[in-house]
Subunit: 136 residues, 2 copies
DNA sequence: CTTGACCCTGTACTATGGTACAGGGTGTAA
DNA sequence: TTACACCCTGTACCATAGTACAGGGTCAAG
């Protein structure tokens, strides 16, 4: 199995090298293997995890929430129930977020549309459409 | 026009009273009118703004980004161009976020589905589907 | 055989987004 | 008229999520 050092992984995932140590401390990634002289050796799975973390953060999840997401898996001979429940809850959250973003998208599109239609010298009739909040 | 005090607005929007002062300092809301004895008097538009801010935060926008969103409007006799450009950029961001959330939703749904299908004593075949990150 | 580019640990500092007083004013209700 | 619930300002503190050293080890190239 191919392994990476901390610097390599940081580069590959576009994160600061110190963030990797921080994620380890926060238990978002397992303590990686170590080389003979004590260097961390990361796997491709670690890289996938880091990318997952960054993606989820951009979508508005906190590190604690991401930890919960990452723990959502079933071990052999254990009941699915608790995982199912959490997955259901997360699914709801995700659907709410999508809904919110879709409203935002709609308003932005309307705005762009109106901008493009009006001539540059006339005023755009958008004032008040966004901050009214009624559409979110 | 009906006005609200700080406490009333905070209650209505479900935010801490001090957050309102903070948003004012960060220029996310305009300095509100004051009563004779110096109390802040907020309008319904202020309330809408506060709700917008909270919504946008849940969707992963920072206060600076939200400020940009809120500034996206066209004043009379000004060119649409710069606003159009920013709106376009924001639209892209929003669409990316939706895409990411949809992937997450797909994985969660698959998980829930598999959980529901399997009997409680058998193992769920999910191990590794999520943290691989390939689906995001 | 030392210089440079990595890595290690521990600890301190930072930015963002609040939250919590302290010390003081106002206005109504008992 | 005083007690209480509000409001004001300023400033200090807090959690989260990093980021940046300091002080030290390893190893390959010049």
């Amino acid at each position: 199995m191919k392994t990476m050092t901390r610097g390599e992984l940081a580069k590959e995932c576009g994160v600061n090298i110190e963030a990797l140590r921080y994620y380890e401390k926060r238990r978002l990634i397992d303590p990686p293997m170590r080389s003979e002289i004590g260097y961390r050796l990361y796997s491709n799975e670690d890289a996938a995890r880091i990318r997952f973390i960054r993606n989820a953060q951009k979508l508005g999840f906190t590190l604690n929430e991401i930890l919960e997401l990452l723990k959502l898996r079933i071990k052999k001979n254990e009941s699915c129930e608790p995982v199912l429940e959490k997955a259901q809850k997360k699914l709801n959250e995700v659907e709410q977020k999508i809904k919110g973003l879709k409203s935002m998208k709609k308003v932005l599109k309307k705005m762009i549309h109106r901008c493009e239609e009006s001539t540059l010298t006339s005023d755009c009739p958008i004032l008040g459409s966004f901050e009214s909040g009624r559409e979110l």
